[in-house]
Structures are given as C-alpha cells and as structure tokens.
C-alpha cells in the first residue's frame, strides 16, 4: 500500500482524536428546539442542511490553507530562498484563519472549531511526524527528511501562535494545515482534503445522531442519506466565496448553550 492511501485510511479512522466526539454541530439544539418533525426524517433533514451549509462556509478555507502549506512544500523541495522565511507563511495562514473567525459570528461554533483545530495540530505533532531520532528508513531521501522537519516546525510554530491567542486556530484551517503538511498530493489534493473533511463532518453527525438515540443501528440507517453525492465540486471559487446559507441552522447552533440539559458541547 502506498503512503498516500495509508494516510487517507488513517485520516478517515473514526478513532482519530479530533475532539469531534463532543460536537453535534447544532443537531442536539435542533432537536431540543422542536425542529425536524418526527424522528424518522430528522437525521437526514438535518444532515443535508448542515452539510451543505458547512461545506459552503468552510471548504474554501480548507483548500486555501492547504495550498499555502503546499507552497511551503514546493519551496523547501526546490531549495528556494523563500523557505527560511517562516513568518511569511505563518502570516498567510493567520490571514485565512482571521477571515474565518470574522465570518463565523457564532460563539458556539467558534468554540467547537477552535478546540478541534488545536486537537488536529496536536495530533500532527504527537502522532504523525517521524520522531527526530528516527534515521531508520534507508531509502528515505534527504529532502523528505528536510521537508518533514520543516513542516513539523511550521505546525509547532503555528500552534504556539494559537496558544498565545495570536491566531484563532480554527478547524477548517487546521485541517488544511494537517493535510498540507502530510503532503497529500494525489491528483487535485486540495479537493481530496475537502472531501475528507466533509466526510468526517458527516460521519460525526451520524455518530451524534446515534448517541442522541435518533437512529438505531440495529434496524439500520435509512438507505440513502444522499450525502455521498453531497460533495460540492471544490468550493474554492473566490467569486462564489464562503457564505452562510442556512440562517436557521446558525441560530440553533448558537443557542446550544441555552438548553436546560445537554450531552454535547456544541
């Protein structure tokens, strides 16, 4: 199995410690506020509206960040002058991050986004970089080692910015950093990164649905959620731009904390 495939399998693992376990993306609030009609259709209805809305608001940020980190890859591989200018890259990523923060005017969503974002950066540092002392693999090219160590530094530095509250560290941006740093390069890699991100979001929604007793795994999930074909074709066209397309979802997600009792964090 090639590295790329292994990486994709790893990233789509439901045990990936991203902290999404405590996030229902507004689903719990949606149900508590009396939306969605009867239980049979609620999950699908919410998933369709939520996934479409999330894709439209977040995916452009995933790909923009992924591309910035890909540029770092290229600069390091080509040994260009630019590569020693860490700050420039960090600044570019921070700009994308700040824009997402300015466009996501929802305390609950931002909270969930930041905690999952930093979890991804931590995951990269602690679980997906080769240990410094590891010189093992004989035919690993020197340039690969250099790229990896560069990426590790870049991610560590960005994480410091986040910890110091100089950068927000939002989920779509951190996902873009992660997939860019891991060098997902197969085909239109930024699209692949987007696809995986939405896949994980969808799965997290299904997981939340199960824990809210909305769907019973013994009798099976309805045969078509329509989510497989929910993949937007690369929402990265600047003129169409990120936007909030589901104001009802926004309000319900923001009201999450108003629930008298709740099992999810967001």
């Amino acid at each position: 199995m090639d590295d790329e495939t292994f990486l994709l399998l790893l990233l789509s693992d439901s045990n990936l410690p991203t902290g999404s376990f405590v996030a229902s993306s507004g689903f719990e609030s949606y149900i508590k506020h009396g939306f969605g009609g009867d239980q049979n259709n609620r999950t699908i209805m919410f998933m369709r509206d939520s996934i479409n809305a999330y894709a439209r608001s977040a995916l452009a940020f995933v790909s923009d960040t992924h591309r910035i980190v890909q540029d770092v890859h290229r600069d390091v591989e080509q040994g260009s002058e630019q590569k020693s200018d860490f700050d420039k890259y960090l600044q570019k990523i921070k700009e994308v991050d700040d824009l997402y923060d300015a466009m996501t005017l929802n305390d609950v969503t931002k909270r969930a986004s930041k905690s999952q974002g930093v979890a991804l950066l931590t995951l990269y540092s602690k679980g997906l970089t080769p240990p410094l002392a590891f010189t093992g693999v004989k035919n690993r090219k020197e340039i690969e080692i250099e790229v990896n160590s560069y990426m590790a530094s870049l991610v560590a530095q960005y994480k410091s910015l986040v910890r110091a509250e100089s950068a927000p560290g939002h989920l779509p941006i951190c996902w873009g950093i992660l997939t860019g740093a891991l060098g997902l390069t197969l085909g239109e890699s930024h699209l692949r990164s987007q696809y995986l991100h939405i896949f994980l979001h969808a799965r997290s929604l299904l997981s939340a649905s199960v824990r809210l007793n909305e769907i019973d795994l013994r009798t099976g999930i309805p045969s078509s959620t329509g989510t497989e074909s929910d993949q937007p074709d690369g929402v990265d066209d600047k003129s169409r731009g990120p936007a909030n397309t589901w104001p009802l979802g926004e309000i319900l997600a923001a009201r999450h904390d108003l629930q008298h009792s709740r099992i999810f964090n967001s």
């Binding site: 508590k32 923060d101 300015a102 005017l105 305390d107 909030n244 104001p247 009802l248 309000i251 629930q259």
Partner: protein
Amino acid sequence: MPGSSTSISKIQAGGGRITLSSHGGKAWISEFSATYPLKLLSPRLSDNTVAIVYVLTYGGGLVGGDCIELTVNVESDTKLLLLSQGSTKVFKDRPQQRLASVQRSDYASRSTPGQAPATLQIMNFTVSSQAALFLLPDPVTCFRSASYSQIQTFRASKDATLVILDWITSGRKSLGEDWVLSRYYSVNEVLIAGKRVAKDVMLLENNEFNSDSRLNRSLAEKLSPFACYATVILRGPLVEETIAQLTTRYGGISIMQRKAPEDLLWSLSSIGSDKENGVVVRVAGKETEMVKDWLKNTLRSLEQHIGVDVYRRAFV
C-alpha cells in the same frame, strides 16, 4: 467650511453621497446628493445632534439591472439614523432599462446577455470618532425569481457606535410567495480602526436547475417555519447598555425539549474575542411583525441617545 475635503464626485445612475458634519455642537448635512433611481430625504428635526435620512427608490422598488451605490460619512460627534419607507422590494426584471437615467455604472452595463441582470446595492460607510450610525431600514423582500446582492462596508473608529440591521422577508404572502426568490446575497463587513472584525455573508439561493432534491432542499424547506430573518450588529459606547441587557436576557433562557418550534427565536454571539468589538444578534420569526416588534423593544434604549421622537420613526 465643508467638513469633507472631496470635490463633488461624479455620480452615476443610482449613486448617492451623504456626509454629516458637526459644527458648533450641531449636526448638519454637508453633502447630500443622489441620482435616479436612488432618492434621499432628510426631514428637519428639533434635536440637532441627530440627523435622519430616508433612503428610497423611485417606484418603491428595485428591478434587475438596478445598481445603487451610496457613500455615507458620519463625522465626529454626529449621529445619523438611516431609514427606508417601506420594505425594499426587489423585482425579477424589467423588459427595458429605466428610461430616465444618467450614465449607467460599469456594473449595470456588464450584465450577461440573455440573463436577467441581478440587482446590486453597495453602501460604504465611514463612522468617525464619537460618532454613531443607526442603520435601521425596513426588510428586503425579494419577489419571485428576484436576484439581489447587497454589499455594505463599515469603517469605524474605535469609539464609534454602530447599529446595523439587515433583514429579509419571505415574499408577498398574498401571492403565496414563500422564499421563491432566485438569489439573495448580503455582505456586512465591519472594520474597526482599519482591522476587519466581522464579515457576515448570507447567501440564500433557490437552485431551480438542480433537480436533485437530495443535494439541496428548497429555501422554503430549509428556512421553515420562519418568514423573516434578521441580523443586527451592535458595537460601540452608545449601545453598551443594550448589549448588557441582551446578554442578561439571553443568559436567562432555558430550553426544555419542545414538540414544535417557537414563533420567534433569537441568538446572541460576540464579535471576535475582544469585548469592544460588539455582538451579533440573529432573529427568526414566523411573521415579520413579530420580528419588528422584538427589534423595536430590544433597541428601545437607543431613545436616550437619539430621543423618543426620532426613535419612533424606526420600526413604523
């Protein structure tokens, strides 16, 4: 001596400029111009620290291809209340161009052949130190198949006050219109001391060409049961009290499992992580009147800053 140092700018169709300046403790409108189809009205008020401007369109609505571009300067120590007279109605299109029109702007001439041109409204606001802008128009109503874009940019000083209301209703109830517009795109971007703190982008689209209902539910389905959605951005010294009241109210709400949605829902979120950047309030109501009453009551503490008589003109 005019407060603004710019010479009279060339105005294109639908263009307009308003500048409110302060002189000897009084506010006076030093720049006031509009070209068809935009129309501006400013009634004389007894309180001369505040000015009101009504922003209107000839015919009471906008049609495809109309492009309104308004530039507003609220200079130091002045307060400006911008209102409309009735909901901004957006029609799908019109067979011919408006006949009485000065040079059309680049935008309007650029429309795609064969496609009904969209309607565009651009507003640029500058709000200086110790100044206040209260943008409290009636809601936008996009009729069947209408396509409307609105881009509002606010550049404010650190101690400026902003109250920005942006709301939309579902259509003409009498004709059974329930979110049957084609496209509604609204951007509200706020920069404080040159730094962008908020950019609220709302896009509502009915994708008539995408017949796969699995992918995209219709707007009516997604937005049901509410017929009116509002967004309010509040920041600055004059709304500190309003924000505090809202925060207390919000914190007191406790939701138990409901069988069906309430008639009106609202949410409160902060802008950025800095307290002084203000809040965003979102409201959804089954009827526009409900949302209007809610807004009117919630913003009532503005009366102490602009006076009861002036406030009464909003949310009529």
